[in-house]
């Protein structure tokens, strides 16, 4: 009995530093933000101007907030549709037994190791309209008409940044899927082969169902990551031009720190938290249900 309590105490002491940091920097700010969001507050003076739900009412009538919300939805959907299948494809490729794949495995993983800001600045130069890599290439191969101002046109900016975001994150999903694939026993695919299944059939009926867990993890990572996404947008377009690539997180940052509307920014943060929270729960539920239905 005493051994157990002392074990627990020791265990607690071991996790205490991490736990305290987590509580202080990750958990505590959530209720605090909810509190700030009820005030009109600039973040520097005493917080005295209680406004109730005023910030939220304003938020729902704020067209820029809705633009940023739908941009987030766009990002969530496109990330799921682009990054996961591409990640799976690359995962399959690098875990197949073709020769000379080691180098590719490394190469594909490189974007994951570069910091987001460095990626953003590099791609800003790739997209640079007048002497950037992309447009120079397009002009060289005779496609002048397609050499556009990628980050400067409201209709293109979001797509251009999403392409970069995908480039950055596909390797993550590649690794997740490659790891899951290596956990699938060889016997199963061999059995399918003996039964006369084609490669595609084996993939659809043996491999894919066994990847369900990883697909679910990857989806949740992708959805929550996209809902709170900030880095590349902030570096490459700052949400512009004319809010065309504004996301909830960049809008929150601007409100709270650039225009000194901490209360309003906090309201956006609370909305983001609630959204991510429910979407994650929902995704977990759906994942569980489909697992139950298939009877595995």
């Amino acid at each position: 009995m005493t051994t157990r309590t002392s074990n627990m105490a020791a265990g607690f002491a071991f996790v205490a530093p991490a736990l305290l940091i987590y509580l202080f920097y990750f958990m505590l700010p959530i209720p605090l933000s909810a509190l700030y969001s009820l005030f009109k507050w600039d973040g520097i003076s005493p917080m005295t101007n209680f406004r109730g739900l005023n910030n939220y009412i304003r938020l729902f009538g704020d067209s820029v907030f809705w633009i940023s919300f739908f941009n987030n939805v766009k990002l969530v959907i496109l990330s799921l549709v682009i990054q996961l299948p591409m990640g799976l494809l690359l995962g399959l490729l690098v875990s197949s037994r073709l020769r000379g794949l080691g180098a590719y495995k490394l190469l594909f993983f490189v974007p994951m190791t570069i910091s987001a800001v460095a990626i953003g600045i590099t791609w800003k130069f790739i997209y640079e309209p007048n002497f950037g890599l992309l447009n120079t290439l397009l002009i060289k191969i005779g496609l002048e008409n397609l050499a556009l101002g990628w980050l400067g046109e409201p209709g293109l900016a979001m797509g251009a940044v999403i392409a970069t975001i995908s480039w950055q994150y596909i390797p993550l999903y590649m690794v997740i899927f490659a790891a899951a694939l290596s956990g699938i026993p060889r016997e199963l695919t061999e059995a399918a082969y003996i039964d006369g299944a084609s490669g595609l059939q084996t993939f659809l009926h043996v491999t894919l169902p066994l990847l369900r867990g990883s697909i679910r993890t990857a989806s949740i990572l992708s959805i929550t990551g996209s809902l709170k996404y900030f880095a590349l947008i902030f570096v490459m377009t700052e949400g512009g031009p004319n809010y065309a690539s504004e996301l909830m997180a960049t809008y929150m940052y601007k409100q709270a720190f650039t225009t000194f509307r901490m209360g309003y920014g906090s309201a956006i943060a609370v909305i983001m938290f609630v959204l991510s929270f429910w979407v994650t729960i929902l995704a977990l539920r759906i994942g569980k249900q489909s697992e139950g239905l298939s009877g595995t």
Binding site: T3, S6, N7, A9, A10, A13, F14, A16, P17, K40, D42, G43, I44, S45, P46, I121, K124, F125, Y127, E128, P129, N130, F131, L148, G149, W150, L151, G152, E153, P154, A157, T237, E238, G240, P241, N242, Y243, K254, F257, T258, T259, F260, R261, M262
Partner: protein, 439 residues
């Protein structure tokens, strides 16, 4: 038994090391100074944004001199990257732990800190400094006849820079009026050269056109009146401003995709350096940038005041700029406000400081500055500054932060042809009225 003891000891060790890892930063400095001095040490902290700028050298050496003169004082100078600084200062102010001396640009953002009682007034010190400093250099930090800072950067005006060689090659004269600007631009375009380099992801770059055109059309009082409520941002002069900007855009005078290009990474400067663009509207700090990025083109760069607009009310000598550009203020939370004020009074803009600025391509905000300058471009800029009838501080710095951001966003939308000039004027006015009603 032993094992349990070991486990406990390890856990304690882990906790202690974590604790000291966090506390360590502050601890070391304190111990070091305690070991050296017998008398009580006073520590002051100064934050500025001179990470890459040469001004950091004079800030550092002046701090050094200050510490030599006051041996019991440690003045800790921290250079912070520009954009990160704005957030960092705001968080520090909000948490009640600002540095004793902090960099700012005057104007609306400083006013926000003043209104929340975070800035120490230094009117008396400023009155003394006005003996040598230009009086106007205190304008951006003066509110209700109280002064809250001292300038430590140079006079800065926005000018139309042009490539002498490029214009000469096509037999073009530098434009003095709007019509000439259009003619020169059309001629450059015919020769495959971008008339005006602009990187407007940065937004304040496009705002410079808005401020200048408005000034030339409506005079320098139009803005002051609009902000004070005696005029309006829906003044026909502002609507005309939007129209003229969109005329430049429709004529393709700016580079392709300019609303996505970034000034900070040099995307517009490159066009001027390589001669792909003929002209560029920018602050005089571009000379410092060019001196390090492309010194070989400096001799081919010419300076022009913003063109006069035919029929406009504005005096063509009016400048958009800042008479001090960078300011130091003392925070109210400082425990050593007097010492901090002494640093601002006796060390910033000292003779050494002025000398350093002159030698390194700055126009110090002191009386008779133009006479000290030998660099011809800089001298010309200083002359324009001294001859200016009025100097308008950048809107985004003059206005309170939320209005400043609104102005930049709307102006970017004008450039993107996403709003009509009338709609842009209406949005400016509406934001101002909402802001005023909220106060």
């Amino acid at each position: 038994m032993n094992k349990r003891l070991l486990k406990g000891a390890l856990a304690c060790l882990l906790m202690f090391t974590t604790f000291f890892a966090f506390a360590g930063g502050g601890q070391e400095a304190g111990e070091a100074s305690a070991a050296q001095g017998k008398e009580e040490k006073v520590e002051l902290v100064l934050w500025d944004v001179q990470t890459s700028n040469i001004l950091r050298e004079i800030v550092d050496s002046s701090a050094q001199r200050f510490m030599e003169d006051y041996p019991n004082v440690v003045l800790d100078v921290v250079h912070i990257q520009n954009d990160a600084y704005k957030t960092k200062l705001k968080v520090a102010m909000g948490a009640g732990t600002p540095p004793d001396i902090f960099h700012n640009w005057g104007g609306g953002t400083l006013k926000a800190y003043i209104d929340s009682n975070n800035v120490h007034p230094i009117t008396e010190t400023a009155e003394r400094l006005k003996g040598t400093n230009m009086e106007a250099s205190f304008d951006p930090v003066t509110f209700d006849n109280t002064v809250y800072g001292v300038p430590y950067g140079g006079l800065n005006g926005v000018f139309l820079w042009y490539r002498k060689d490029v214009l000469a090659r096509h037999n073009l004269q530098p434009p003095k009026t709007w019509d000439e600007l259009i003619q020169v631009g059309e001629a450059l375009k015919r020769n495959g050269i971008i008339p005006l380099a602009l990187a407007n992801k940065t937004k304040w770059t496009g705002s410079m056109y808005y401020m200048y055109i408005a000034d030339r059309i409506g005079g320098n009082q139009m803005f002051a009146n609009a902000y004070a409520g005696t005029g309006s941002f829906e003044d026909p002069g502002y609507i005309r401003t939007g129209q003229l900007i969109q005329e430049l855009v429709r004529k393709d005078f700016f580079p392709k995709g300019f609303n996505g290009m970034d000034y900070d990474t040099g995307q517009s400067r490159n066009l001027l350096y390589t001669g792909k663009a003929g002209m560029m509207l920018m602050g005089a700090w571009i000379l410092g940038a060019a001196a390090s990025e492309a010194p070989e083109v400096l001799e081919n760069i010419g300076i022009l005041p913003f063109p006069a607009i035919e029929g406009g009310k504005g005096d063509p000598s009016n400048l958009i700029g800042s008479p001090g550009q960078n300011y130091f203020s003392v925070s109210q939370a400082s425990k050593n406000k007097e010492l901090a004020t002494i640093f601002l009074r006796d060390y910033v803009m000292s003779d050494e400081w002025v000398q350093f600025m002159v030698e390194n391509g700055y126009v110090p905000p002191v009386k008779g500055a133009a006479a000290m300058i030998s660099d011809p471009l800089l001298k010309e800029a200083a002359n324009y500054f001294e001859a200016a009838n009025a100097v308008q501080l950048y809107y985004d710095q003059y206005l309170p932060p939320e209005l400043g951001e609104m102005h930049k966003d709307v102006t970017q939308a004008i450039f993107g042809l996403a709003v009509s000039p009338e709609e842009a004027a209406r949005q400016h006015q509406k934001a101002l009225e909402e802001y005023m009603a909220d106060q």
